[in-house]
Symmetry: C2
Subunit: 239 residues, 2 copies
């Protein structure tokens, strides 16, 4: 299996980085090929902007998604984007490794998504969810959080983590076609002792050993919606 | 009323920019003071990183939130962050104006939140939601979306917009104490005609004229949780 591990933490010695390193080591020991994009180390530019396109379809008015299509078709994508796109396409498994910043990814990782998940290639028209460009691949999130797990659960003060991360798990990873198991989360990280951290790393190893069989989160299916994205009454569905 | 309008669109002539301009004009005509942070025009740096802190509490190991507290207390915040913090604190109303990128904000706006919403000042310890640092203020989102409204509704393919934006509406704006009415959304923007766009701008004016009375979205209350963030049985709540 080919794995792309995209890591986004500003402190190279963080526990999040330790999780990333352990994940890479375990997967490599299992015979998998692991490529790492360490966004802070790469000084990855997260801002989607006009300069991303050397040759514009419309130099007067920027529609970012349309320029993404044009640049991909004409081979004029900015080199830093093109390199990441190639890595994503080559990988059977995408792993996002990040600390929870405002119940989402840090901006440097959000911008990696904004710039790399190309319109036309990753999705477009009716090609999303179970018809997305990356159908057949898996994506995982490895997360460090300051909160306790009970705070991001049903009945907890913030509600379930999967609800907070719906924009990422469903709206981004599921949208382009990935199968997405529940994230791996190390909770309360700044406050726990070394033994608890060691326990997280051991649990991470178990999680990754089961990656091929982890149940994916439920995602919408295009089969249930017509061309105008109206729900199809269940009696009229194809198949 | 003092208003801070934070705008994040890469095309200065976009419909999103037209909404921002109309909002500013209407609010100014209503006697309000409007400050605009146009993040693309400012070339705002969205990456939370060690360089944000001139004088580190711990130069060896970066915990971003702890360095935020230290830098604020010692007046050593990076000038671009300090300027935005001051604008946020001065404003009774915060307006975020942005195109929906991956069911969330563009990275440049995510990074504005990551860097500007300071630990210790905006939140910290048990100071969040109805005890957050910005209690008493309001925050609105003005959004342009490519999707049709029916796709981001109950029963629609993506589910309700408020669910996708939970990380922003509740997890960010609500978390620091803002009252947050439902967002204003212009749907299907790349595909609609001029009359529909004019209709959106007129609807935006009505929305803003009602801003003081718009019902806020429901948010969690700290009153319902004990010091360890365990739910308090309803019979035992204070008040």
């Amino acid at each position: 299996m080919k794995v792309l591990l995209v890591h986004a933490h500003p402190e190279p010695r963080s526990f999040c980085a330790a999780m990333k390193d352990r994940a890479a080591a375990v997967l490599r020991a299992g015979g998998h090929e692991v490529v790492i994009s360490d966004l802070y180390a790469m000084r990855f530019d997260p801002v989607a902007k006009a300069d991303d396109f050397a040759s514009r379809r419309d130099p007067e008015y920027l529609v970012y998604a349309l320029e993404q299509r044009h640049a991909f078709e004409t081979g004029t994508l900015a080199p830093d984007i093109a390199a990441e796109v190639e890595k994503v396409l080559a990988a059977d498994l995408l792993i996002l490794s990040f600390p929870l910043f405002w119940f989402s990814v840090p901006a440097i990782l959000k911008g990696w998504i904004d710039r790399v998940f190309l319109s036309g290639l990753f999705y477009g028209g009716r090609r999303f969810y179970d018809r997305g460009g990356l159908v057949g691949k898996r994506a995982l999130c490895l997360i460090t959080a300051g909160a306790r797990s009970s705070m991001l659960a049903e009945g907890g003060i913030h509600g379930p983590l999967e609800g907070m991360l719906r924009h990422l798990l469903q709206g981004t990873l599921g949208y382009v076609g990935y199968r997405v198991p529940r994230p791996f989360v190390a909770w309360h990280v700044p406050y726990v002792d070394r033994a608890t951290r060691e326990g997280y790393l051991a649990a991470l190893e178990r999680y990754l050993s089961e990656v091929a069989t982890l149940e994916p989160l439920p995602m919408p299916s295009l089969d249930r919606f017509d061309a105008a994205m109206r729900p199809i009454p269940s009696g009229n569905r194809e198949g």
